[in-house]
């Protein structure tokens, strides 16, 4: 039975009141001790899950509401990282603090488990976002001086995290890897092994998700990765990714980013429908996840749900 499942990529804009709240408790500069009130956080997560549900999303995220960017939220909870100055995040008017690696990386406490528990208590169909290669690539390494060693250590940490997530109910784990689209071929071998490490003993469905450009550089190697779903950007990389789908025999499911998560311009529903149909055909009618091509944090709050409705309404018409 083939299905088209609308989902989100990861981030959702913070509800305005929660944004103001975080500004007050955390300040504008570097994070100090976070005096986060769990009930307040739960209320915010509840709101963004409701926004997703009302739009028609079937596989959710917690919106990564406490994340300032893909890197620092992970890095600040892993021993061995220090946070440094700001740098531009890919081709976005968005900046992140560069994590610097000063010692062997170790997980002494959970990273996103507490957040997952809050979201899972509201909605069980919950995807959790982690990252490995991108965290390694965008950090400044002053300790390992060997990329594969660094990637493997992060993979071990993510494996421990994934295990704890599954013990708490997680069924879907998404590894976000935009940097993989800039990888060299030898990096692909490292990442293939890293995925094996991350998955070891973890009973969950694994998504490996890419965005911001086409995935030409990772094909066909990525097809040998031990993941269940591959996420591709069909906004920035539409034509090339479409070619790749047709050229290679996919034995994995696809998560297709079909609406632009970085513009308030709303896509024409008919065009989105056509796009989804074409991709569905290209994956031979296998289960297809559809989503915005990026997280939605690039949009003002009120536009995020509108974008999801365009996505979900297009799917609804097909099925």
């Amino acid at each position: 039975m083939s299905r088209i499942i609308p989902t989100v990529l990861g981030s959702y804009p913070r509800p305005p009141w929660f944004r103001e709240y975080l500004r007050k408790v955390e300040g504008l500069q570097k994070e100090g001790g976070r005096a986060m009130d769990e009930a307040t956080y739960a209320k915010a997560v509840g709101e963004v899950i409701r926004e997703q549900r009302d739009a028609g999303i079937k596989l959710f995220t917690d919106g990564q509401l406490l994340w300032h960017d893909l890197l620092c939220h992970l890095a600040t909870k892993i021993d061995g990282f220090e946070m440094n100055g700001l740098i531009r995040y890919f081709d976005n008017n968005l900046y992140y603090r560069i994590p610097k690696i000063k010692a062997k990386l170790e997980r002494r406490r959970s990273i996103v488990v507490d957040e997952f528990r809050v979201a899972y208590s509201i909605e069980h169909e919950m995807k959790t976002v982690l990252s490995c290669f991108t965290l390694a690539s965008l950090s400044e390494d002053e300790f390992y001086h060997d990329k594969s060693e660094l990637v493997m250590d992060i993979a071990h940490i993510m494996n421990q995290e994934a295990k704890e997530l599954v013990r708490n109910g997680a069924k879907y784990i998404q590894i976000d890897e935009p940097s993989l689209l800039y990888a060299e071929k030898e990096d692909m071998n490292v990442m293939k092994d890293a995925i094996e490490v991350i998955r070891r003993g973890v009973d969950a469905k694994f998504f490996l998700v890419t965005y911001f450009r086409d995935a030409e550089r990772i094909f066909p190697e990525v097809l040998d990765f031990n993941v269940d779903v591959i996420g591709l950007d069909f906004v920035e990389g539409y034509e090339k990714n479409f070619e790749l789908l047709r050229e290679y025999d996919m034995d994995k499911e696809v998560q297709a980013g079909v609406v632009d998560g970085r513009t308030t311009k709303m896509e024409d529903k008919e065009q989105v429908k056509q796009k989804i149909r074409a991709i569905h055909d290209a994956v031979n009618g296998e289960t297809l996840y559809v989503s915005p091509n990026t997280g939605l944090e690039f949009l003002p709050y009120i536009k995020a749900s509108e974008k999801l409705k365009v996505l979900c309404n297009s799917v609804g018409d097909i099925q």
Binding site: L28, E31, N93, L94, T263, F298, P300
Partner: protein, 325 residues
Amino acid sequence: MNNRKLLPTTVVGSYPKPNWLRRLIREYEKGEISNKIMRRAYDDAVKAVVKEQELAGVDILWDGEMRRDEMTSYFARRIEGFTIYGEVRVWGNNYYPKPAIIDELRYRDELAVSDYKFLRRITDHEIKIPITGPYTLVDWSFNEYYRTREEAVYALAEVINQELRRLAEAGASYIQIDDPAIPTHPEEIEVAKNSIEIVTREVNAYIGIHICYGDYSKIYPEILEFNVDQIDLEFANRNFKDIGIFKDYEFTKDLGFGCVDVHTRRIESVEEIKDNIRKAFSIVKPERVYVDPDCGLKLLSSEVAFKKLRNMCQAAREIREELEG
């Protein structure tokens, strides 16, 4: 500019808002203060920061951007075709109201003419008017209306051009286009260049372009082709490492030389700033150098901003005297 003194000192634009003004703005936003009182408060704040700049010894000054909240949405709110849906993140907990272009961009409200006229009445100093450039305004906005970014940039350039003409007609002699987004898309430098061409068309004034925060190697020497008289850059922020970039090709414009770091509270000494200013002379001769801080001062406290400016002006004065013997 003609007949000016050696090493004129200036500011990039913003100055810290007095605490009392911040409080009034908050009350105004809650509807507790009338437009009239708020307008008077802004006027008073401008008088105060102009006086501070004069006391610090600044030659060419601006009103400290007391009336502007931010460099993108302030202009977008005054131009037909923009709307603002809400805030988006720049980093961490820092957000800005990101405008969206939803219709044809057209001139509606003036952007700086009355600010200029007010300032003209309260100071005898030369005035520089900073306005965000069309390339940067488009880059920092959503585009729902135009087919391409390029079209949006050119349409907005026409709007800004109208404002610049009005400013020049009102007597403005020195206008600065703030365009920090240019180095983030070096592949679009032709679009940026064309936009400046449109913006400055038939504008009878001295034109500077201010670019901070970028990788200058990506836009040099191409930036020399822009239709501006001066290029104003930050140097202190990256500890003057960027100077080498400008030595491979002859720098054919005046140079606005950011010689004081606005991202640290440390107050550079006069001697240190003098050393900094002299570094500019390895790019252009002293006759082409304008002395200013790296960027706007609004993130500093008033006290620190004043001391930085005062030392900067003292440093420029001492070098000027040495050079003129």
